[in-house]
């Protein structure tokens, strides 16, 4: 189902600090579910692909995918300089997507910065199953907020927060989340920076909820063969393993990820080095 293709860029549109791109993806778009990502090859000078959440897929005209790019380093900068008609090599869909509830339960979706990208389509699919959906959109400041209008279109309520109060509520996404959780037992979905995912998982746990979190770890291959993208995750057997976020994620249950130990190998991880004197 996952395929590699030279995809023609259909549009590149700037939206504040982000860029929205779409490209033809014949045969790829069909398998898309929210939470999947795409790995894109950039210029010759950089050999590693760049990963992006798939924002949405359309099946018209052979299929197309949309992504949101925040230009940061050389690869993302190169990408946003592409023009319609240019070809980019893509591999998609990749990863394990968000799991949808089988019952029409209320849902709250939390997105930080460009992390809202996969949430629009998720919201639509949840609502199609009869789930009431609220979306919390957060960012450092008004500038870096993404997709508030779109969020309103696909949900029943939108809450906006910024760290500096320049738009919406002054504070963190966890403030409205806490209020929503206090008022009911929704399913929680989140995508955004690791710190936010940790906070969302912790607040959810306080209220007995488990958040599904789409993580972002540095990836060399995106397809499960290199072992660079790991983080400590507790398995069904209670054992912590260093787990690949590209194939076993990017979506994890928030109570399984040892958030505060991401970037370390916890001492009780399977196969952790034995403490040495040196």
């Amino acid at each position: 189902m996952t395929a590699q293709a030279d995809a023609e860029i259909l549009s590149v549109r700037r939206d504040g600090p982000y860029w929205q791109m779409s490209f033809a993806a014949p045969g790829i778009a069909d398998g898309f579910r929210p939470g999947h990502f795409v790995a894109i090859a950039v210029d010759d000078a950089h050999i590693l692909r760049r990963a992006f959440s798939i924002r949405s897929a359309s099946t018209k005209a052979g299929g197309a995918l949309q992504i949101i790019v925040s230009p940061k380093g050389p690869g993302t900068k190169w990408l946003v300089e592409r023009r319609p008609g240019d070809l980019i090599n893509v591999i998609a869909p990749l990863g394990k997507p968000f799991r949808l509830p089988t019952e029409p339960v209320p849902c709250v979706l939390v997105g930080g910065g460009y992390g809202v990208a996969p949430l629009f389509e998720l919201a639509s699919q949840l609502r199609a199953r009869g789930c009431p959906v609220e979306i919390i959109v957060g960012a450092g400041d008004a500038q870096r907020l993404y997709g508030v209008v779109e969020a309103r279109r696909v949900s029943d309520a939108v809450h906006v927060t910024t760290d500096d109060g320049s738009a919406g509520e002054h504070g963190r996404v966890t403030d409205p989340l806490r209020r929503i959780l206090a008022g009911g037992h929704p399913a929680v979905y989140a995508c955004g920076p690791m710190g936010m995912l940790q906070a969302v998982s912790e607040v959810s746990a306080e209220f007995g909820a488990v958040a599904q979190c789409a993580v972002e770890e540095s990836m060399a291959c995106g397809i499960g063969v290199c072992m660079t993208c790991v983080l400590p995750v507790i398995g069904d057997d209670g054992v912590t393993r260093m787990v690949r976020s590209c194939t076993e994620g990017p979506v994890f249950f928030g109570d399984r990820v040892r958030w505060s130990e991401v970037g370390t190998v916890p001492a009780d991880t399977l196969g952790a080095p034995e403490p040495r004197d040196d």
Binding site: Q4, C221, V225, C226, M227, V265, P273
Partner: protein
Amino acid sequence: MTDPRVTLGGVDFAGPAFTASGCAAAGRELAGFFDLTEIGGVVTKSIMLRPRSGRPTPRMVETPSGMLNSIGLQGPGIESFLENDLAWLTDHGVTAVVSIAGETVDEFAQLARILRNEPAVKAIEVNISCPNVESRGQVFACEVMSASSVIHQVRRNISSDVPIFAKLTPDVTSIAEIALACHNAGADGLSVMNTTLGMAIDPDTLRPILGGVTGGLSGPAIRPMAVRCVWQIHQVLPDVPILGMGGIANGEDALQFIAAGASAVSVGTMTFHDPSAPVRVQRELLGLLDERGFTTVADAVGIAHRGGLT
């Protein structure tokens, strides 16, 4: 058409291109991208006796035409490997070259004993480019004595039908000397080369980026170094098969290795760029060999030492 088959250490392989250890896991993830039975075989990620968590993240840094990694040999341990990974390869008819790694000479010996009863193991790659805990953490392949002991122990403990390839590090004063020692100790072939030690520092924090502080540099950046290593080893051991690797991205790159003295090649880092790189490289290589009139891969091996095409 050039015959794709190659013989390495007495064993026949379907083609001259392999995956590189640690760049294809145990093959399964690549099966969606190409037919694994078309290439020479899958060289599996170096496996150790026990499960191993590997190093903390970040485990990689992109560098000019290359990358650094400090995975730290993460893996499930030999038992789980046999049960899940090797079994999958066998079930799917994929040729398996099993890479093994240990922290002590004895661990290598134990791994060899465990593998001796596995008919699916076509060949063994002995990754002696990993740290030797018995000797100041220096890698085994840095020194003639430690490299030889490992190879000797693996050779003693495995059937003589199974060729063993010693995987060498370029980070030595004379790689030819280590190659000679490994061959004398019983290596049927040499895998050349592993990554070279490198490092990157974050310009903002001014701290090493990698969780492991230093890491292995791979990719096209190091290709000229790898071609040189193959050349130097073929010069002293012209009859010993070399599995050449280091930055191979296409058929022309692979051809350089063959001409320098490699009997076959592995494709590593470029698989991250293009998951079907191993089979693409193989097809391109065979096409180039054909254009140049070679009927077998073996005819081109080391030809640069013999004046090249005339």
